[in-house]
Symmetry: C2
Subunit: 313 residues, 2 copies
């Protein structure tokens, strides 16, 4: 099976032709989420026509276009539901009609965190397991859940993808989502910046020399022995692990997948997660595995085949 | 449709004949969870034979026995999986065989929190809604979730029923479940006793005159203006509400049902929950309703018909 896959992220759009578990051809281009999605659609269809031509693939041989979007979507209607300041014109666009007209293909759409989990299940770290939770650690904290081989969606298509917004500290910081002390508000990259800025002793840390505080910088300075970086890293790890236990208790998975750029420090993060989960998750049946997601930015694209064949989706 | 229903709780067993949304006849008797379930089974079958006789109902006209159990069960095999110090002989008993032999009926078994939700969905506060979360506030904190008209169970039959064990405070108290700072460890009745016992100023509160601290006592002393009781009540309400927001973010329901004896103070609890959920749950589609469960101890029994007809279950 061959299909088109598009991943519409906050800062870029990736277009790919996928065949089963491989990416045959792909091209990414920067995208201005503030300027909206509609002006970008001609570029998306041009890119697909070009990479198909170059690969000697007829679009009519593709099973459809699987579109991964960085917001809430309705997979039944193919419409974007809610955008949170990314491509705010999304809900007004009839994407299935655009896809039929410009590519001659059926469209299926899904939230990007769910697509990444679907890709990892089909072609990555989750292969062979049907009960999975994924946590993506980044600017925000994303999530998705699969139960008994089906993506969890829920009535309003929110279930699973708010895994970063479960409570970590009920007297904690206020999140952009409205919740108090959710995992994202306590230990995402955007929260990290605010937390560091508010620390009275930040000036004594080597972290203060960073032009912009990131997880990468935090883990680098912690590895170099900076005391404050070590303290904040421990705090982040503990919040993420407590979040993982909440997700285990909520969804009863066999495995928790951790994704995001910070997993370049998997040698620190994964043993912490596994040990915490072993000690604090209540799973009389056995032990939930902590694993690193494998596919990085390709995960959402590789969810295309199962999404279109409605396998697991 | 007529069926038998049994609710095996920590301190009693209730046996009932149910017809659709009504209890036709019922009898409860005290049960010693420490002495095991096997010695109680002859009493259970005797009670069913007797109340059927007295009601003029032939057991052979019943669709089966729906058994609600206070622990983890496997509804596919009809076996008890895990008991947490209640009827520890449970996993060794072939309950379907016992039911066929002593009552001539098929057995279906389910966790008691899921049965209570199923009852509320079928005959109580959840009627007309297919996406529900239930939180039962008591000695422990129970939970269950229904998504798109089906009880959520998960791979190891744990999903949904550990809703009381989602994190509320990642640096909080250790729970009997192993988690740190979960809702039950922070604001269940057993935790309340430990929290009060550790307070240095408990002696100045009228609460200290209670022989045993309960939610009922806490709400009574708070209503009478006791400052410490007011402070601890506020803390419990906030933890419960933060837990409700976690469950909303996890399961995407239309409604959260609150059950348990403490809901006799619904006039305090429900407005607090609704207001907190309105302010802190991220639900761009609309507003999740906070409601009191209606059916009390009858909820699990009234789940019998949908469980046996596999409607919603």
């Amino acid at each position: 099976m061959i299909a088109l896959a598009a991943d519409v992220g906050g800062g870029h759009i990736s277009c790919a032709i996928v065949e089963e578990r491989s990416i045959v051809a792909s091209q990414s281009f920067p995208a201005d989420k503030a300027a909206g999605l509609r002006p970008l659609l001609p570029t998306v269809s041009n890119v697909f026509h070009r990479i198909a031509d170059e690969s000697g693939i007829a679009l009519s041989d593709c099973a459809g276009l699987a579109l991964s979007f960085c917001g809430l979507v309705n997979p039944l209607t193919g419409r974007i539901l809610s955008t949170n300041a990314k491509y705010d014109d999304g809900p007004s666009i009839d994407l299935p009609a655009w896809c039929r007209e410009s590519l001659g293909l059926e469209l299926r759409i899904e939230n990007d965190a769910r697509m990444a989990l679907l890709g990892e299940w089909y072609a990555g770290a989750g292969r062979g397991f049907n009960d999975l939770v994924m946590i993506t650690l980044g600017t925000g904290i994303g999530g998705a859940a699969m139960i008994e081989g089906r993506l969890l969606r829920g009535k309003h298509f929110q279930a699973g993808c708010l895994g970063g917004h479960l409570t970590a500290s009920y007297l904690g910081r206020t999140c952009t989502c409205g919740a108090i002390g959710c995992v994202e508000a306590e230990a995402s990259e955007w929260a990290l910046r605010e937390i560091c800025a508010a620390l009275p002793d930040i000036g004594r840390s080597s972290l203060a020399r960073e032009p912009r505080i990131t997880f990468e910088g935090l883990f680098r300075h912690a590895a170099a022995g900076d005391e404050l970086a070590l303290r904040i890293r421990e705090r982040c790890l503990t919040v993420w692990a407590a979040g993982a236990v909440s997700l285990i208790h909520a969804y009863d998975p066999e495995m928790v997948l951790f994704g995001g750029g910070v997993m370049q420090s998997a040698e620190v993060i994964l043993p912490f997660m596994q040990s915490y989960m072993d000690r604090h998750a209540w799973t009389p049946w056995g032990r939930v595995k902590a694993r690193t997601a494998h596919l990085g930015n390709e995960a959402a694209l590789l969810g295309a085949i199962p999404l279109l064949s409605q396998e697991g989706a």
